[in-house]
Symmetry: C2
Subunit: 217 residues, 2 copies
């Protein structure tokens, strides 16, 4: 059973068939929450429980592989730092904000975060750490270069990029994530998300934008 886990842990990602299984888990996770059973997974994925245990070791291994599989599907568009001006910086920030709002309000993200929270409450802290790493911290790693480029271009002012990012995070997410996790029906339309992203960006610029002469806002 140990080499089964190893089989997934290191080396190249899951095979095509395994990806199908993990996608089935993902769908089931959205529908059923963390009370999905191994039997239900096997039925949905049209595979045997024996295969599940052979491939993923145990239930936790299956969930861990699922979280990592979903995380690996999110690709990071690189940011070009050349020709940065206030317009392009604003556009970048707004794009980050709306992307992020779309992610955290998606059924998949909510289900995955719920699983992470549940596991963080028990002994198995792994899943919570993974979700955190692939969510909140990954966003920070993506955004901080943008912020620093903005600072170098004289468009932003802040001491600590981490603190600046956390402010941006708070302005964007506000109470959305906790409300969704706690089951609040919070219908976010595309227009609403874009509007929120623009508002958060303007607020962030008001706090950390370079003060060249009288404030533009």
């Amino acid at each position: 059973m140990l080499q089964a886990v190893t089989e997934m842990m290191e080396g190249e990602g899951p095979t095509a068939r395994q990806q199908d299984v993990l996608d089935a888990v993902l769908r089931l996770l959205v529908e059923e929450g963390d009370r999905l059973t191994m039997t239900a997974v096997a039925r949905r994925a049209s595979c045997s429980k024996e295969t599940l245990y052979k491939w993923f070791g145990d239930r936790d291994g299956l969930l861990t592989a699922t979280v990592q599989w979903q995380a690996s599907k999110v690709r990071v568009p690189p940011v070009d730092r050349k020709g940065l001006d206030l317009v392009s910086l604003t556009a970048s920030l707004e794009r980050f904000a709306s992307d992020w709002l779309r992610v955290i309000s998606s059924d998949t993200s909510i289900a995955l975060n719920r699983v992470g929270v549940v596991h963080a409450g028990s002994d198995k802290r792994d899943l919570g750490a993974i979700v955190l790493e692939r969510g909140r911290f990954a966003l920070g790693r993506r955004l901080k270069p943008v912020l620093e480029a903005g600072r170098e271009a004289g468009l932003l002012e802040f001491d600590d990029a981490e603190e600046a990012f956390r402010t941006f995070f708070g302005l964007v997410a506000r109470d959305v994530q906790i409300r969704l996790l706690l089951g609040d029906r919070l219908e976010l339309t595309a227009a609403g998300i874009d509007g929120d992203a623009a508002r958060a960006t303007q607020q962030f610029l008001a706090l950390h934008g370079a003060k060249t002469g009288p404030r533009a806002l």
Copy 2:
């Protein structure tokens, strides 16, 4: 069994003995998370399982009563609106912010929010709704009169008190709540909390403070 639930649902709160039981559940919830068992509760509270079922109906009823019991323990200090100036408004906001940070970073709050999240993921949405109502929304109801008093006193500017509150919420909480829920070890010292509260308050005033002449910030 139905009248057992009713026994707790309506009318006056739990008896002293029942409060002892609920406090035991609370402690157990902090230690064990949502995988506490009825047997463990009975043992910890030195009561019989029969009594638990008689008083609370079933496991969900016990958890619901616990969440409401904890919520009822938080008392709301009223806000005096007379003689409001920038100093007292700032102090009020900072106090709200530091209180809130202290609450959401407490073991009890984390455990309760975890329970709410897991229940929101299953069919039983009740607990999530209760936590949300007694947490996020209760804070909003407490803070909005302060904001509106500040606006009436000419100290704040905003169109929608709800939106202004959400901004304040985001500036205060930032990524703290989600990180704690996902198991991140986030040591918040008293000094750190007060500093964060002051920072969030200043940022909020920078965004929504009345612009009397050139900006003070």
